[in-house]
């Protein structure tokens, strides 16, 4: 075993060479670029395939566990609490209540959006309490949104629906 512990204030030194974005652009530092082009095709699985097919028909579907009594949304084929297969499929309403929301000024790459979008977690009526999904709100000004607001899904026209979460264009306030 070596010399033993030193009595120093820590961290002893801040080592590292900071560089700026422009150092890369101007070629002041040595670097190598690559553009991996990977594509993925995700299967939707048992539960979400059925969910997406119902979306195409303009309906929301959930699953039920008779042991804990929960109506689970989005649907799943097993209850993660009771750890058993689900017992039933049940339709839920296309209305719900805003649980929380945000007004986003940035896109997925952190670039500014031309117009902010309103994103929310919406607990869907007919499912167990707090069973929500993330989606966007429309036909409402950012300053008018509040937690507890009742909303309803605005669907794409039937022929435009493709079995995707975006078959619901957005949720708008009701009442």
């Amino acid at each position: 075993m070596a010399v033993g512990k030193k009595d120093i204030s820590c961290p002893p030194e801040a080592i590292g060479t900071p560089i700026k974005d422009e150092d890369l652009k101007k070629g002041k530092v040595t670097y190598y670029e690559d553009y991996p082009d990977l594509r993925y095709a995700w299967t939707a699985g048992q539960a979400i395939s059925r969910f997406l097919n119902e979306l195409k028909k303009g309906r929301l579907i959930a699953t039920k566990c008779n042991e804990c009594g929960r109506i689970m949304f989005p649907p799943r084929i097993f209850c993660e609490l009771c750890f058993k297969p689900i017992d039933d499929w049940v339709y839920v309403k296309d209305t719900g209540v805003v649980q929380t929301f945000s007004i986003s000024y940035i896109d997925p790459d952190a670039r500014p959006l031309p117009e902010p979008i309103i994103v929310a977690v919406i607990a869907v009526d007919g499912a167990s309490p707090k069973m929500g999904i993330m989606h966007v709100l429309g036909e409402v000004k950012p300053e008018d949104v509040y937690i507890g607001m009742k909303v309803k899904a605005v669907w794409k026209d039937e022929e435009e629906r493709e079995g995707a979460i975006t078959d619901i264009k957005y949720w708008k306030p009701v009442g």
């Binding site: 204030s9 000024y105 952190a110 929310a120 069973m131």
Partner: protein, 400 residues
């Protein structure tokens, strides 16, 4: 052999675990050094402080977050040489942002189980390799079918959680902004800090909106950096120092991935992890028994959220404690005296440097200008990550 049961989970400790050295690189938005080089620098510092050489290291734990940032798979293996892990038992652990405390927890397993007497823990993150912005790398965290078509940005989930927390407890943004002001100021005393500055609550409230309620100064920056920690058995600690810092308890827990089915106002995952760690550390009243805390603070509201999860404040009480100065470096419960992620930086896994490493430095009275005013015996550090679902907690003490 000590055997205890927590919620059906049995743990048996072969030997106590001491921390004897730590190190970290500077943290910056972009560093020229590669991940391997950064790991090497952090490890050298930790060895230097402990008074050990790499030959003394028996096993190595590496912590690093998504491979997406580096564009390198098998990142653990890529970082092996810089981490001092070649030719010895080596493993990588990863629970997103929670890795910063999960990696030392894995180090604890190595020593407490008796498998190793000297274990090196290294955490590294190089986020700047990812273009146009590290945020782009986070796209992959979302559910590909239900969430990605909505073009989400990672900030969304935090904004949604922050709004829910503010709504349930009726908390104002200005009370939350105080955390950012405090931590960025604390970071002025940290030699490795990336975004240390004196700001005001108004600066936070007037900063650029990202995903409201989250504004630019509510958020920690992406960073490059590394940190290292050395954990040893009692007989090794005695050879090295009269004043080691002991790991008293560890805990970790995950809540469901279906985050839209949870009430986001309270971090249950942290509370569960804390329960486990406190039980192990024989802490029954964390408010009284914890002298210094390093909760995970990638966002200002997160420090408050996590203080409540850790039982350091009642639900909704953390903003009041902050306002009263209790969490200041000279307060009764100094919280994030390092400057945290908000002030020093957020190199995901490498945040171990301001969580586990800082807590060790505080309890060893080696934190220099960052040393808290009060006398300290016991402290807690915590990290958090994945889809807002993992809590990792470690309790340390300078008394055995």
């Amino acid at each position: 052999m000590e055997v205890e049961k927590i919620k059906g989970l049995k743990f048996a400790k072969k030997q106590d675990v001491a921390i004897v050295g730590a190190g970290m690189t500077t943290w910056k938005r972009r560093l020229n050094e590669t991940g391997k080089e950064l790991s090497y620098i952090a490890v050298k510092q930790a060895l230097e402080e402990a008074g050990l050489t790499i030959d003394d290291i028996e096993m190595v734990v590496m912590g690093s977050a998504p491979d997406t940032f580096d564009g390198l798979h098998m990142k653990g293996e890529y970082l092996l040489d810089g981490s001092g892990g070649s030719d010895r038992p080596y493993m990588r652990v990863f629970v997103g942002g929670g890795t910063g405390v999960f990696a030392p927890i894995a180090g604890y397993w190595h020593v407490a189980s008796g498998l190793a007497d000297v274990c090196l823990v290294v955490c590294e993150e190089k986020m700047s390799s990812c273009h146009p912005h590290p945020q782009s790398g986070f796209k992959g965290i979302w559910d590909p079918i239900l969430e990605r078509p909505l073009t989400p940005n990672l900030i969304w989930i935090f904004a949604l959680e922050m709004r829910r927390y503010m709504h349930v407890h009726n908390i104002k943004h200005e009370d939350i902004a105080l955390v950012s002001v405090k931590n960025k100021r604390n970071a002025l005393d940290h030699p490795c800090a990336q975004v240390a500055e004196k700001i005001t609550v108004e600066d936070v409230l007037n900063s650029e909106p990202m995903a409201l309620p989250v504004r630019r100064l509510d958020v920690s920056p992406p960073s490059d950096g590394a940190a290292a920690l050395i954990m040893v058995a009692p007989h090794i600690a005695r050879q090295l120092t009269d004043e080691p810092v002991w790991v008293d308890g560890v805990g970790w827990a995950l809540d469901t991935t279906m985050w839209t089915n949870r009430d986001l106002y309270f971090p249950r995952y942290v509370a569960e992890a804390a329960k486990m760690a406190y039980k192990m550390a024989h802490i029954t009243d964390p408010k009284k028994q914890i002298d210094v805390a390093e909760p995970y603070d990638p966002f200002d509201y997160k420090e408050l959220h996590h203080m409540e999860g850790l039982g350091l404040a009642r639900k909704g009480e953390a903003p009041i404690l902050t306002k009263e100065g209790v969490t200041a470096r000279d307060g009764d419960l100094p919280t994030c005296p390092s400057g945290g992620l908000l002030g020093v930086g957020n190199p995901i896994a490498a945040t171990m440097g301001v969580k586990a490493c800082e807590l060790y430095w505080q309890l060893a009275y080696r934190a220099g200008k960052r040393q808290v005013a009060k006398e300290v015996t016991t402290g807690v550090c915590q990290a958090w990550g994945d889809l807002m679902q993992v809590g990792t907690v470690m309790v340390m003490s300078n008394k055995r």
